[in-house]
């Protein structure tokens, strides 16, 4: 082996080992790296009342209720489980039924998630209003769901 090849092998193996180390660290810390849990994970992990965390999912259609003042009540779903959430305060513009949401707060003893901050989550779909309306009319619209299908149709609708 020439000196150049030696250096190249050394670098290759060093970067490989480093990548493996970082990969293992991130895997071990995965509970801290995630920004939020889905309702399904929340149920699986049996998180106790009072533990601060974030939950994320879709605002379940038909569950959003505006109470007096600036309070709202809704359910967050990921298709596996639903968690009831209450919140008092200003909501982001994108917040509505069927839209992604991340709520920060804690469960109370009754199993209701008391949120003190609500963030809207935007999905990866980008389209003009006319295309979205056309998709809804055709009945191929999937609220917050699998994104690839409507996007392909969106191309055809152009």
């Amino acid at each position: 082996m020439t000196r150049k090849q030696k250096r190249l092998t050394l670098i290759g193996s060093a970067v490989g080992v480093l990548a493996l180390a970082v990969g293992l660290i991130l895997f071990a810390l995965r509970d801290n790296v995630v920004f939020f849990y889905g309702p399904g994970e929340l149920v699986e992990k049996h998180v106790g009342a009072g533990t601060r965390l974030r939950i994320g999912g879709l605002v379940k259609t038909g569950t959003l209720v505006h109470l007096e003042g600036k309070s709202v009540k809704f359910e967050v779903t990921d298709g596996k489980a639903d968690v009831p959430v209450t919140y008092t305060g200003l909501l982001p513009d994108l917040f509505k039924e069927g839209q992604g949401v991340v709520a920060e707060g804690a469960l109370d003893t009754a199993g209701v998630f008391k949120a003190d901050s609500i963030l809207a989550k935007h999905d990866e779909r980008y389209m003009p209003r006319e295309v979205a309306d056309a998709l809804k009319k055709q009945g191929v619209w999937q609220e917050g769901g699998a994104a690839a299908q409507p996007a392909k149709n969106a191309g055809a609708a152009q």
Partner: protein, 247 residues
């Protein structure tokens, strides 16, 4: 190709390429911005805030592409000890830092009206901030070590260590739950972005790439000339010392 690894030949080539690249950049950037503001439609949810994407996404792509280019230059420095690779490395760091900052700032400006927050510590945002800090660290390293060949080797090692962050940035949105949305363009099953918004975005991406290439070539050229000047002034100082000694 190898002929241009010679700094003198590279200078000649860069001199010929830069005006054309600069002209193409100006043309495409103008066209891209006109498309962004006057042609591309508003989004069904985001309204006109979607226009931020046309700056944000190309900056994000370039911030990573710049790092990949810098990494290949770092290999050139460590494995082949080539001075042109040193110059390419050094020239890339500030450009990468600027594209990363642009990505962070535009993202923050979009996040406030859409998410309801300027910043969150999710995996995507944090890993891009780490990329920005790596760029700053590299710039600092280049400024601290005076001997160019030594600085190049130190920077190359830091660059190669930091390359681990690039796949983390790219796949953070798939590996972990993040507030940041998953990839819209480079995803399985084709882009999730409407055609009328995709092609202005791609034109902006090409424009940003050309902008990077132009600025990078200019910066590499400056670095080569700066090194020659340094060499000349050192030689001149030596010659002066010698003549004083003999006098």
């Amino acid at each position: 190709m190898l002929k241009y690894a010679n700094p003198t030949n590279f200078l000649a080539l860069a001199g010929r390429l830069i005006p054309w690249l600069a002209a193409a950049t100006a043309l495409l950037l103008t066209a891209g911005l006109c498309l962004t503001f006057f042609v591309a439609p508003d989004d069904y949810q985001q309204g006109s805030s979607v226009k931020i994407m046309y700056l944000h996404v190309p900056s994000a792509w370039l911030s990573m592409m710049c790092y990949v280019i810098m990494t290949s230059a770092a290999l050139g420095t460590i494995v082949w000890r080539h001075p042109l690779a040193d110059a390419a490395q050094k020239a890339a760091a500030p450009l990468g830092a600027v594209f990363t900052l642009l990505c962070l700032v535009t993202g923050s400006l979009w996040g406030k009206p859409m998410w309801g927050t300027w910043w969150v510590w999710d995996a995507r945002l944090t890993s891009v901030l780490v990329l920005f800090l790596i760029y700053l660290g590299l710039i600092g390293l280049w400024q601290t070590i005076e001997e160019p060949a030594q600085a190049a080797r130190a920077a190359a090692i830091l660059t190669l260590v930091g390359v681990v962050n690039i796949p983390i940035i790219k796949f953070s949105v798939d590996w972990w739950n993040t507030l940041h949305q998953p990839a819209s363009v480079f995803k399985l099953g084709g882009p999730a972005i409407s055609g009328s918004m995709l092609w202005p975005l791609l034109i902006m991406a090409v424009a940003f790439t050309l902008l990077f290439l132009t600025l990078h070539l200019m910066a590499v050229r400056n670095e080569i000339l700066r090194r020659r000047l340094r060499r000349l002034s050192i030689d001149a100082a030596h010659a002066e010392e010698k003549s004083e000694a003999t006098a």
